[in-house]
């Protein structure tokens, strides 16, 4: 700081004393006079500076709270993630409850216990066993449809094969009851491994993509009307006398966390009203049966009429004989 030579004049002293007096006067000002002056200064000279200061303080607060905000944001993201899974689980449990209400009796709820280890992708361990009444070959179902079949039973747990198991088979039919076939795992390459095949469908039955396939009830293991999957498309096989269709499973592998095991009595009684998909086939069958009954009744009437016609000459002959008798 370079010094600058300058005289110290009387004018400077006067100015200094005046400023000091003014400052003291400002200190001594009553509120009613002081506040308007201060307010005027704030609203004119100081206004842009205060605005800048406000922005600076806000920036500082933002800087200081950035870690806290990041932590809060992460927590919220984590909560929302767990919320989604909780909602999905809630939805799943609601469906299970709905299935339980629809079945009403003859089932055992079970939880799928194990993870999908190598070599165990197609079998599932259930948290209920023989003590709960589960027997081998009991169907395992979920709200969406068929999951698999119990293979072996222990007192407190049981092992089931899922629909993806190479040994799994279920007799199935299209929802309208026109096409029948055997559904098993599609043993293709990895992306298609978790699909199903419906084999042995007669050539005259052409199933459109999206057609629902349900268990037919033939064979006695699976009751009629459990959704198995939906038709994706037909696939080419070496079989010339039948068609094979690729199916999208009704129960995705990830959804098999809570299941129901149907007891033998329930399997025998049927579950057509549970998924409400077998009703069409059932009504079709009933209609066919009714039509057959009607035909039979018609035939019966025709037979009766014929008998009446046939017996009429005999009655006339008898009447004439009675009249001729003395």
């Amino acid at each position: 700081m370079p010094p600058a030579a300058r005289a110290f004049s009387r004018r400077d002293t006067v100015l200094f004393v005046s400023c000091i007096v003014l400052a003291f006067a400002a200190i001594q000002l009553p509120d009613r006079m002081r506040d308007p002056i201060a307010s005027a200064l704030r609203q004119t000279i100081l206004a842009p500076l205060v605005a800048i200061q406000s922005d600076a303080e806000q920036s500082r607060r933002s800087w200081l709270t950035r870690e806290q905000r990041e932590a809060q944001r992460d927590s919220i993201a984590l909560r929302s993630m767990s919320l989604e899974s909780a909602l999905a689980e809630n939805d799943r449990l609601r469906k299970i409850l709905g299935l339980g209400q629809a079945l009403k009796w003859g089932f055992v709820p079970a939880e799928v216990l194990q993870g999908r280890n190598v070599g165990e992708e197609y079998t599932i361990t259930l948290s209920a066993g023989a003590r709960a009444g589960i027997l081998p070959f009991s169907p395992v179902v979920a709200p969406e449809g068929l999951v698999g079949m119990v293979k072996s039973v222990d007192p407190t747990m049981s092992i089931a094969i899922a629909w993806a198991h190479p040994d799994f088979r279920v007799s199935a039919m299209s929802i309208d009851g026109n096409a029948f076939g055997i559904v098993g795992a599609h043993l293709g390459s990895e992306p298609e491994r978790y699909l199903l095949e419906m084999r042995g469908v007669p050539l005259r039955n052409n199933l459109k993509p999206g057609t629902l396939i349900v268990s037919s009830g033939l064979g006695g293991t699976f009751p009629r009307g459990i959704p198995v999957g939906t038709v994706i498309d037909s696939i080419q096989t070496s079989e010339l006398w039948a068609r094979t269709y690729l199916l999208k499973p009704a129960v995705p592998p990830s959804d098999a966390s809570d299941v129901m095991v149907l007891l033998p009595a329930r399997t025998t009684a049927g579950v057509q009203t549970v998924w409400k998909v077998g009703l069409h086939a059932d009504s079709a069958v009933k209609a066919i049966i009714a039509a057959a009954d009607s035909l039979a009744r018609l035939n019966g009437r025709h037979d009766s009429a014929a008998m009446v016609i046939d017996s009429a000459p005999k009655r006339d002959t008898a009447a004439r004989a009675a009249k001729a008798a003395p």
């Binding site: 400052a23 400002a26 000002l29």
Partner: protein
């Protein structure tokens, strides 16, 4: 003062005032630098004592308007240190870093003393703590920032060759 020097000094003053309202709140320190004192001192040593007193009064009044309860105390303190700085500059202002630091330190501390006494805020204990703990600390920080500011603004504050 030549017009060029006046513009340079004015520019430095504006920069320091802006720093007072931007950098100071950004730092948010309990004992933060007082750029208004630095600005007043820097200008005061370049003008006559009367003008320095007037500048101090204006700066002090504007600063006091934020807190009307002590309206005038800052003006009184700024007037005093502005006038004194201008009056004593021939003694202090050799171009020496330590002397400049001491100048800022004493200027800020003197400002605080006058301000607190004129404002008469708090009880004696609080005032003593403020005067002998926080004020020296704030003065030291102000001195450091004043030196840094002098180094940065040296091209602006350099006097024009006569």
């Amino acid at each position: 003062m030549r017009p060029t020097d006046f513009v340079r000094t004015l520019l430095a003053f504006v920069i320091l005032v802006m720093l007072h309202f931007t950098l100071r709140p950004l730092l948010g320190w309990r004992a933060g630098p007082d750029f208004l004192v630095i600005a007043t001192l820097l200008v005061s040593i370049r003008v006559r004592p009367g003008a320095a007193a007037l500048l101090g009064l204006c700066v002090g009044l504007v600063a006091d308007s934020v807190d009307p309860h002590v309206f005038g105390a800052g003006a009184l303190a700024m007037t005093a240190i502005g006038f004194t700085a201008s009056w004593l500059k021939a003694v202090f202002f050799a171009d020496d870093v330590l002397l400049n630091a001491l100048f800022f330190f004493l200027g800020k501390w003197a400002f605080d003393i006058i301000y607190l006494l004129a404002g008469a805020r708090g009880d004696a204990g609080q005032m003593a703590v403020q005067l002998f703990v926080w004020s020296p600390l704030t003065a030291a920080v102000t001195a450091i920032f004043g030196l840094v500011t002098l180094l940065i603004l040296r091209p602006i504050l350099r006097a024009s060759p006569s």
